[in-house]
Symmetry: C2
Subunit: 380 residues, 2 copies
Amino acid sequence: MKILILGGDGYLGWPTAMYLAHKGHEVTVLDNLMKRRWEAIAGVTPLQHLPPYQDRVRLWNGHHADNAIDCRICDIAYNKRYFDEIFETFLPDSVVHYAEQPSAPFSHLSAAAGVETQQNNLLGTLNLLYTVMRHNPECHIVKLGTMGEYGTPNIDIEEGWLDVEHNGRRDRVLFPKRPGSIYHLSKVHDSANLEFAARVWKLRVTDLNQGIVYGTDTDETWLHPELYTSFHYDAIFGTVINRFIAQAAKDRPLTVYGSGGQIRGFLNIVDTLRCIELAVEHPADRGEFRVFNQFTEEFSIQELALRISKLFGARIEHLPNPRVESEDHHYKAKHTALPELGLEPNFLTDEVLGEMHKFVYKHRKNIDETVFKPDVLWRT
Amino acid sequence: MKILILGGDGYLGWPTAMYLAHKGHEVTVLDNLMKRRWEAIAGVTPLQHLPPYQDRVRLWNGHHADNAIDCRICDIAYNKRYFDEIFETFLPDSVVHYAEQPSAPFSHLSAAAGVETQQNNLLGTLNLLYTVMRHNPECHIVKLGTMGEYGTPNIDIEEGWLDVEHNGRRDRVLFPKRPGSIYHLSKVHDSANLEFAARVWKLRVTDLNQGIVYGTDTDETWLHPELYTSFHYDAIFGTVINRFIAQAAKDRPLTVYGSGGQIRGFLNIVDTLRCIELAVEHPADRGEFRVFNQFTEEFSIQELALRISKLFGARIEHLPNPRVESEDHHYKAKHTALPELGLEPNFLTDEVLGEMHKFVYKHRKNIDETVFKPDVLWRT
């Protein structure tokens, strides 16, 4: 299958590219490399120095000539003509779209960062829809959304759609969203545009509302010492488990925001890759807007802190919550569609945490302790 | 009260500015004049030649020195610094935000027009939120949305919010949207951003989901022969009743899309002004996202065509529907909030239609018959 991966330089995009190429798919990756600038703006770096995008692809292709990846630098939000050309030439069966500013705290860094987040994410996705409609409406769009689009409603969360009864009448509606940040809003806007593209333009769309991803390695990152992915442990781009592990490895307290009663869905990075593969292998129908909630387990932040604290002897520090979010709420979210397609979850075992800790500990000299602190406030 | 009106050169913005100035409010209008370019792109002009923005304000100020309007040219999506400066200097109590690309067909003219619609509308509104938060979070934002955000769900439409019960639990959620165009989507995105700004940043927001406006004149446009507003009768910018009246005045058939069974909410342009006044005089609370459905009557398109046909002897022509929309659907939408605040509707009487027809008939030599035809297809 021909698969175009947007955002191929990222934490998830890069391992996804190697994984799908390794499985025998014909893969083209595309990135605008803007994330590297956003990291610079936030003043943070990944745990390991990240070689240039082109070098990583060259390294992969050197070892895997039969599963070579084609690599392009293109901004889907602004280089429309070049993007059209790449798409039209490659004519992918599926597009996997990770090419978005991925951080809620980054989107609250400044007005400029908030506007850039929505502009980049919305325009990129919208251009993708026009490009697919123009050059190959059969192409399946697999879009990475987030569980954070739903927020924490007081009702059970379904997979994208909700059957409602109101004044004795019924309808099936998009699940109402209550996103918690300017970044999460950008994904809500994307979802609305995607649903329209399926309903009115008859495109094939799978929206993956992903939980919080953790992990350092996948089957392919192990294949060569320099194929690792971009692992962030800072308060801007580092997801919570990754950050806790880095704090533990550095003998620093695990920074819990508020009480830590916030419950979220989580998944292992290797499950992300498998979910993408399952979505790609089972495309949505023409005109279908299909939503999968992509996570395997739910934990409260405090629960995670306690486990990691116990395992590695780290202290827990409760900080005033920089975000505006509920710390005591109902959380029951359906996530059966991907297991039904064949996902076999890799759960967050002590062994998994141990492996992560071992990896991060090995690189602990690279950790800058000053970036653990959450400096970005939702309300100023 | 100090009121900043965004989009002061438009069909509704201009009469709103005169109306509120006439009532004794201190009014600043702002416009980027982009609508004049969009008209040029669509190849259409209003019924009467529209004098330059600055000339209209000068004319008003010449006759109404005590109720003078301050006039600025600024693009809120891109001239952020100048917009901040205008806002900070004037420090309005309310901002009335009309400054958006206002046409669904325009947003489907091309990929470029669709992207520009969402970019302009979303970025302008988002910048407004940051400006208000920075310079005066007490300022009340009155934003023009549209009933088209809801689409035509199979359940009754409430005013912005819906009480849902699901699996035995309850919540009050944003009313689920099913917008019918790229333009309508832009307003849905705006509403999501506005709700966030109220919930998280504690701004005061009123989102007015307006029906389809009709009418040529208001109390102030009569005050001088050149204070008229921009009246469109074409298939891109002309709303349906205005277009039917122009078709009747030109002895052309009334162009109904499909069966005409589509039901929509409507209101007279003079009621728009009164609704804005009521919203401004009764501001939302800090942290409140208040939604009013702003229309006074519901009609099907066929019903309107029959009435106008009967009154003025015009023929009805059913065209293949260029849009993707249901022509046979449930439609019951609540609209009690504005009457409760004091709105006394001006209904679509035969007299009102007669006055409109008289006005348009007087200018019928200006009517270009070729722009009645709906050339823009939703699905190509």
